[in-house]
């Protein structure tokens, strides 16, 4: 049994587990769930975790302009970051540019690659985060590689994808085998549902565990201290994401 919780509260909890122990976590634009997860991680770190929320005035210590996030990542002072994608394939390539038609005149154009083509290479723990779990998103091969999941030998690449979190499940990524492995399926969903909605092959254990639900203490923390903190940057999210 357990407390009632929203899907977003579950996802925050899942992401926060992946962030444990990180010294410095940054969250890009339009990333309320990763942002809340980072703030939760910080709240539990006894002062050891720093969080940078782009677009926040309070949770952003940079004083050297927009370049500082990238510089600090290039120096190895950023431990975790989040990327998404209009398309993500089984090699962990991500596409933030567009689909359909011929680039650059795509039928569907997305905003662009932002920092992905750089941060994916230099941040040790990149968590792929995309709520929508459909074959539209999780494709056999992306139409445009904003940033590749793995690199050839010899390419400077201290960083890369480590996990993938969606509305349905949590995956790990193994850059040596260039494959995702299903780690757990979220409560209320099934392995079949994940298979049906994923356009690429992935590994999975014989028995796939259920993603642990947030415990009561976590929910209290989220609804107590984290909610007003994330509201500074994402007021509408803070209104709707949390139960109670």
């Amino acid at each position: 049994m357990g407390a009632e919780y929203t899907k977003k509260e579950l996802l925050i909890t899942v992401v926060a587990r992946l962030l444990q122990g990180c010294g410095h976590i940054a969250c890009g634009a339009s990333s309320p769930i990763p942002g809340a997860a980072a703030l939760l991680t910080r709240a539990r770190s006894n002062g050891r975790t720093r969080v940078t929320v782009l677009g926040s005035e309070k949770n952003n210590f940079f004083t050297n302009g927009g370049v500082e996030l990238f510089d600090i990542a290039g120096e190895g002072r950023l431990d975790a970051f989040f990327l998404g994608g209009g398309q993500i394939d089984g090699f962990a390539n991500i596409n933030l540019v567009g689909t359909g038609g011929t680039y650059p005149n795509n039928d569907v154009r997305w905003p662009g690659s932002f920092g992905s083509a750089y941060l994916y290479f230099v941040v040790p723990k990149v968590i792929l985060f995309r709520e929508e779990h459909t074959r539209r998103v999780f494709v056999p091969k992306v139409d445009f590689v904003s940033a590749p999941g793995v690199s050839e030998p010899g390419v400077y690449r201290p960083g890369g994808p480590k996990h993938l979190v969606t509305n349905l499940a949590l995956f790990d990524f193994d850059p040596k085998r260039i494959r995702f492995t299903l780690v757990s399926v979220h409560p209320g969903h099934t392995v079949e549902e994940v298979l049906d909605n994923t356009g690429f092959d992935f590994d999975r254990p014989a028995m796939v565990p259920v993603t642990p639900a947030p415990d009561a203490q976590t929910l209290a923390e989220l609804r107590g201290s984290i909610r007003p903190e994330i509201a500074e940057t994402y007021p509408r999210f803070a209104e709707t994401a949390f139960a109670a």
Partner: protein
Amino acid sequence: MSMSPTIMSLDALAALVPDGAKIAVPTDYSGIAMAATLALIRRGVRNLHLVSVPATGLQADLLIGAGCVAVMETAGVTLGEYGGAPRFNEALRKGQIKVLDATCPAIHAALQASEKGVPFATLRGILGSDLLLNRPDWAVIDNPFQQGDKIVALPAIRPDFALFHAPMADEAGNVWIGHRREQMTMAHASKAAIVTVEELRPGNFLDDPLLAPGTIPSIYVGGVAEARRGAAPIAMWGRYPIDDAFMRGYAEAARTEAGFSRMLDLLMEPQKAAAE
């Protein structure tokens, strides 16, 4: 000290920009010179090469929708939580503008190369991406200090103008940007910064040890115009929030050309009134 000749009206500022100019503009949280952008649209500027530092939103979408842009060099164009940039997306679909897709740190690094007067910057990452494939103006070179280590070289970006909005300027033409340091790099990297400010102040910021660290010296500044609420409907840090109602309306209406024209007129209204 007398008023610097670089201090001028909004229209005079817009008149500094010739057709075909390469203009760097900041990202939405950093001070968007929207009033100056509308003045540019009003005077019918054409064929701009817009460089977003590193991403952009309504400002670029308005310029594209109004037919002012030939090239969009960017790491991202979006209205953020209001959705995609409708005129940008449509212009691409129809092949009406050229896009130079980049990644944020590549734009920063290429501006820093210009700031230093070196012909190119190098940057980690990018290798193996389709960005690189589609940027024949970028190169891959060898790290001379490590055998077999390839790195991307980016030619310096030297805009004709950096265009942005800041809290204040002094009568000598120095501009206070506070901690929004990307505006400093943009100003250094460009041939001239053209800037709107919430307020003009007497004195010289460089004489004040608290203001100097956040000040762009006038040597980099080609023109300054006072424009109260000059970033609206975009937010100005520490001053006013984004105009939520306008943005929702725009994201919806600008999907069509007619709707876009209506929204643009809405923005132009106050300026027209002021000009009459």
